[in-house]
């Protein structure tokens, strides 16, 4: 045993040694230790440097509230984890931890110079200083700020660990496995309710499990022994799930809660491998009982941040739970009775202890106990200074004046190696407020307690403001019974004896002889904000607690101000002369403790991050060297390079082949909606801008769909398969939205229509063959079919059979070429495709991708919804007046086409652009101007599509330009970074305006 491991406890197995390193040096602890308790057992208090002033800092607590002892875990910089609280990490064999925010080392930190210049870097220093000169910002200030920002180092590689999500439902969820949580869970589970009890530590019991003081007796047993028995009873209950190492992250409305379970963080390295690291539980509970406990408050006095200054109850836990003494010469500085339990514990282990109490007296049993043991108590006194740079060595105390606002008498110096501080207790109301609950301020002991209003959750124990053991047990029993409508509780006849606090006194900022501008009384230990900073903010006019918080950064560190927020509020209230309860609190936001991104994301990483949709022909594309493009969730062939062609070269070749002989495109991804019902024609009349009633069976028609605001929403060809049966195609990316929109109108606006919609996008695969030789290829594929223009005209469809497989052939064209789209059931898609390729071989049929498709349609001036439109284009803007029916009484968006705004003549309208230099290709998205001299230069439009057309041997572009319809032939300018490109407005149909090729 080391010098500081002075006690054997049942919680730490001192037969099992665990070795670990801290800052590269090897140490030993035992199984059951946390990193913090193991460090303390080795006499190590200094574990980090503070954020702003780089002051030496030590372990201050034993739980999630820890502001100082945050470490970098794992020395492998690729996979390291920053900002891990040493008080929460369970020791395992091979653990490697290091301190943060110090250079070159923890013991000698250059940044410590900030402590000396601290008078010059008060709150708001950044805002006030990095204002001027302007030229300093980019080269000096920003790099400087970035250099000093943050605490730990982020890993550089993807997280290799496995994380998991699990949904769970229960009747009762109990948050917190301390005494009130255990009492609650037992009552619930014993009454046939499916109950879950979660506890963030590795064992149940909270602070009572190591409470061996004789002043706390339940049913004639010491409270820790009584609780130990209760826990073993609890573990036998069938309908109770106990989840330790599980911390609540968020409490949302309707009792939806997130909790993170640590599954393998505490295991030795060789046992972690392959195991899930953390699991996020998504719990929907009928009733929630919050038993989250309370956090001990520090006291705010000059130099209250030295290593060796520790919260009093944490000192007790290190002693009675871990068997570790945080010092051999202790002083306890308190304003309440609970710290006396620590004093008695220390004394009973034979460790020197003295007490400084700001109160004038206290006559409770525990204080009497301490007095009877002969522990020296300095009543009505306060600490005014502490000494010792890397570890506390001594303190100075003075008497308090009558009203506590000042100090009197002489300074008295006392030597020590540990100062335990206790400023009372703060109920953990985080869960309650996250769920939407409100708070009341209780004057007598200056705490915010939950206002109980919800029917579906209650707070019990110290998070509800019950601090005495007797009221905790009895109130919890009564409250839970009422909450769950239970007549008989398990603890109705319990007897509890405990010490009761009668004298209460609280001073948020303890007085001093020197002015506070010369003191360092830390409030937020992690962000280094002091009482001086808060007062400065108030002097500078900040009033709201939310503003003071942000200006001084109080409570904004990784601990989210668990220790600091109440003192900040208290000091603001005192300084401003208002009642603390009137100030409100800052918002308690989830997560309660930091969550790993891994736990949030769970299994949805890598290939599970998003759905990938592939057509049935995908493998062929892969084998033929296709480069793919993401279109929505679809993978579409982008282009098929041959012999190291780049995108441009491949597209030029594919485009030429499609117009000179034959090209083939996988069009399976187009959205397909099967429309049936006796009102199907009327339905199409209402959703498309053109008329549909007279479309013959077996014919196809292009349709344009608007939003109710008149803007183009989607387009596609719809085929009439039968009297009451249509097949609609949509854009690839718009399919799901179009179906939703159509369903919306059918269900809500036109429920009288007899129409049924079914998405069949995935049901059919489509090979689209275009080019002057396409008819010959089709003839080879379907030798018995008459493909003459009379028998099978443009914009019509026919059924056919290929190898016993039924096909639908549509003669439609998106390229302007003679073109056929062959549809088969998806399972036959690849076979169909391979047949097409084989049949087209003699015509050098060329597979082409989306890029070539875009180029070909641009040559013909066909728009792509979403590329040439952006939700602000009407059909009139697109010069597509021809498709807007004047005869139809109504269709979606019709009325909006006659709004004064949509009828403006200076709206952006679709035009063609030709560059004066035919080899110059415009950039899509580039702005267009008419004159450069007039400042500011007016931007009158932008380029929407731009290509080099191999068929026209020049650059072509589509653009939207204000009033563009009337600008044909006009010269415009596309200004780029290095040059201005001269362009001429042209017709947007560049090729075959007479539509001869379609029947070639």
């Amino acid at each position: 045993m080391t010098k500081y491991r002075i006690n054997k406890t049942r919680f730490v197995d001192q037969t099992k040694t665990v070795s670990f390193t801290f800052d590269g040096k090897k140490y030993h602890g035992f199984e059951g230790d946390t990193l913090a308790s193991a460090l303390l057992s080795n006499g190590i208090h200094l574990v980090g440097r503070s954020f702003k002033y780089h002051r030496p800092r030590g372990i201050m607590s034993c739980g999630s509230e820890e502001p100082n002892a945050i470490c970098q875990i794992n020395d492998n910089t690729d996979l390291t984890e920053p900002n891990v609280r040493a008080t929460e990490i369970e020791l395992y064999e091979g653990l490697k931890a290091s301190s943060q925010n110090c250079w070159p080392s923890l013991n000698f930190d250059i940044g410590g110079i900030n402590n000396l210049i601290s008078p010059f870097i008060p709150a708001g220093f950044y805002y006030k200083t990095f204002m001027w000169p302007k030229s300093f910002w980019k080269k000096i200030y920003e790099p400087l700020i970035r250099l000093s920002a943050g605490l730990g180092k982020s890993p550089t590689q993807p997280d290799p660990d496995i994380y998991d999500h699990k949904h769970e439902h229960c009747d009762v969820l109990v948050i917190g496995g301390g005494i009130s949580g255990i009492v609650s869970a037992k009552i619930a589970a014993k009454n046939n309710l499916k109950t879950i009890l979660i506890e963030d530590k590795n064992i149940l019991g909270g602070s009572t499990i190591y409470q061996n003081n004789k002043n706390f007796i339940i049913d004639n047993q010491k409270s820790n022994e009584w609780l130990m028995n209760e826990i073993s009873e609890l573990e036998k209950l069938d309908n109770l799930i106990i989840k330790t190492r599980t911390s609540l992250a968020a409490f949302h409305s309707y009792n939806y809660l997130l909790a993170k379970e640590n599954i393998s963080d505490h295991l030795p390295l060789d046992k972690k491998n392959g195991s899930i690291r953390q699991r996020l539980w998504k719990i929907r509970a009928d009733k929630v009982i919050v038993a989250a406990g309370a956090i001990e408050r520090p006291l705010i006095f000059n130099n209250n941040d030295r290593p060796g200054i520790i919260l009093a109850n944490s000192v007790k836990k290190y002693l009675d739970f871990y068997g570790v003494s945080t010092g051999l010469n202790n002083i306890i500085f308190t304003n309440n009775d609970s710290a006396y339990e620590t004093a008695v514990s220390l004394f009973e282990k034979g460790i020197s202890v003295k007490i400084v109490d700001i109160r004038k007296k206290s006559s409770s049993n525990i204080v009497k106990n301490a007095e009877d043991l002969g522990i020296k108590i300095y009543w009505n006194s306060t600490v005014v200074n502490t000494f010792g740079y890397k570890k506390i060595k001594s303190i100075e105390i003075m008497n308090l004046s009558e009203d506590g606002s000042n100090v009197t008498g002489n300074k008295h110096k006392i030597q020590c190696d540990c100062l335990s501080i206790s400023g009372g207790w703060t109920p953990m109301v985080h869960m309650h407020t996250q769920s939407g609950g409100k708070l009341d301020f209780r004057e007598i002991d200056q705490v915010f307690v939950p206002t109980e209003k919800s029917e579906n959750h209650i707070n019990v124990g110290s998070c509800n403001g019950d601090f005495e053991l007797e009221e905790i047990v009895k109130n919890t029993n009564n409250k839970v019974k009422k909450f769950l409508n239970i007549n008989e509780g398990s603890f109705d006849k319990i007897s509890v004896v405990c010490s009761k606090e009668s004298e209460k006194k609280n001073i948020w900022l303890l007085p001093n002889t020197i002015s506070e501008s010369k003191t360092k009384s830390f409030i937020d230990f992690q962000n280094d904000s002091t009482a001086k900073d808060i007062k400065l903010a108030l002097r500078e006019g900040f009033k709201s607690i939310e503003h003071v918080k942000r200006y001084t950064t109080t409570g904004m560190a990784t601990d989210q101000g668990k220790l600091s927020n109440m003192h900040a509020l208290g000091i603001i209230a005192d300084t401003a002369g208002v009642k603390m309860g009137t100030l409100g609190t800052t918002t308690f936001r989830p997560p309660f403790t930091p969550l790993t991104f891994g736990a949030i994301v769970g299994r949805s990483v890598g290939k599970f991050f998003d759905i990938v949709r592939k057509t049935s022909i995908h493998e062929w594309h892969v084998q033929n060297n296709a480069k793919f493009e993401n279109v929505g969730q679809w993978k579409r062939p982008w282009y098929y390079p041959i012999n190291n062609e780049n995108l441009h070269e491949a597209v030029q070749r594919e485009s030429k082949a499609a117009r000179d002989s034959a090209g083939i495109l996988d069009a399976s991804t187009l959205g397909k909606i099967d429309i049936q019902g006796s009102d199907a024609s009327e339905f199409l009349n209402r959703v498309y801008t053109n008329a549909w009633s007279k479309l013959g069976i077996g014919k196809c028609r292009y349709g344009l769909m608007l939003n109710e605001d008149g803007m183009v929403y989607d387009d596609g060809v719809t085929t009439r398969l039968g009297e009451n049966h249509y097949l609609m195609t949509t854009t690839t990316g718009g399919a799901a939205n179009v179906l939703s929109k159509l369903e919306d109108y059918l269900q809500t606006e036109w429920p009288e229509l007899d129409v049924y919609l079914t998405s069949v996008t995935d049901h059919y695969s489509t090979a689209s063959i275009c080019g002057p030789n396409s008819k010959k290829i089709l003839k080879k594929l379907f030798p018995n079919k008459d493909f003459s223009d009379e028998a099978f005209p443009h914009m019509s469809y026919q059924d056919a059979i290929i190898d016993k497989i039924e096909c639908r052939i549509m003669r439609i064209s998106f390229t302007g070429e003679l073109s056929y789209e062959i549809n088969v059931e998806s399972k036959y898609g690849k076979s169909l495709w391979e047949n097409c390729i084989a049949a087209g071989e003699e015509y050098k049929i060329t597979p082409y991708g989306t890029e070539t498709m875009h180029l070909l349609r641009a040559e013909k001036g066909f728009i792509i919804v979403g590329q040439d439109t952006d939700g602000t284009m009407t059909p009139i803007d697109l010069q597509m007046d021809w498709i807007v029916s004047k005869k139809k009484y109504d269709f979606i968006g019709k009325r909006s086409l006659y709004r004064s705004d949509t009828m403006r003549e200076d709206r952006k309208q679709l035009v063609g652009l030709l560059t004066d230099d035919p080899n110059e290709i415009l950039e899509e998205g580039a702005q267009i101007v008419s004159e450069l001299d007039k400042k500011p230069v007016e931007m009158i439009g932008h380029v929407t599509s731009s290509y080099f057309s191999p068929n026209l041997n020049k650059s072509i572009a589509l653009a939207v330009v204000k009033g563009g319809k009337k600008m044909n032939g006009q010269k415009l300018i596309v200004p780029m970074e290095n040059k201005n490109i001269n362009v001429t407005v042209s017709d947007f149909i560049f090729l075959d305006k007479e539509n001869k090729r379609i029947n070639a």
Binding site: S253, Y256, P751, R895
Partner: protein, 91 residues
Amino acid sequence: MFVINCPYCGERDQSEFSCGGEAHIVRPKQPTELSDDEWAEYLFMRKNIKGVQFERWNHAHGCRKWFNMVRDTSNDKIHAVYKMGEKPPVI
């Protein structure tokens, strides 16, 4: 995240639903008869009150049915759920 009692499927998690904004806005039967202002009133104007609001919801990842819901936007308490075409309850 709240729980919605879909009138067709029963209680389901909010993540299965999508909200379609204010309910009971009837598409005018004769849009061409309306002035620009009257059409704009239908097209653009929506209430967004803090308190009890009548909303359209769609069980998008379920039965895909649209229905109406009365929700207090300040605390997400759902007062009523009813099918399309049914009369709104008096709250």
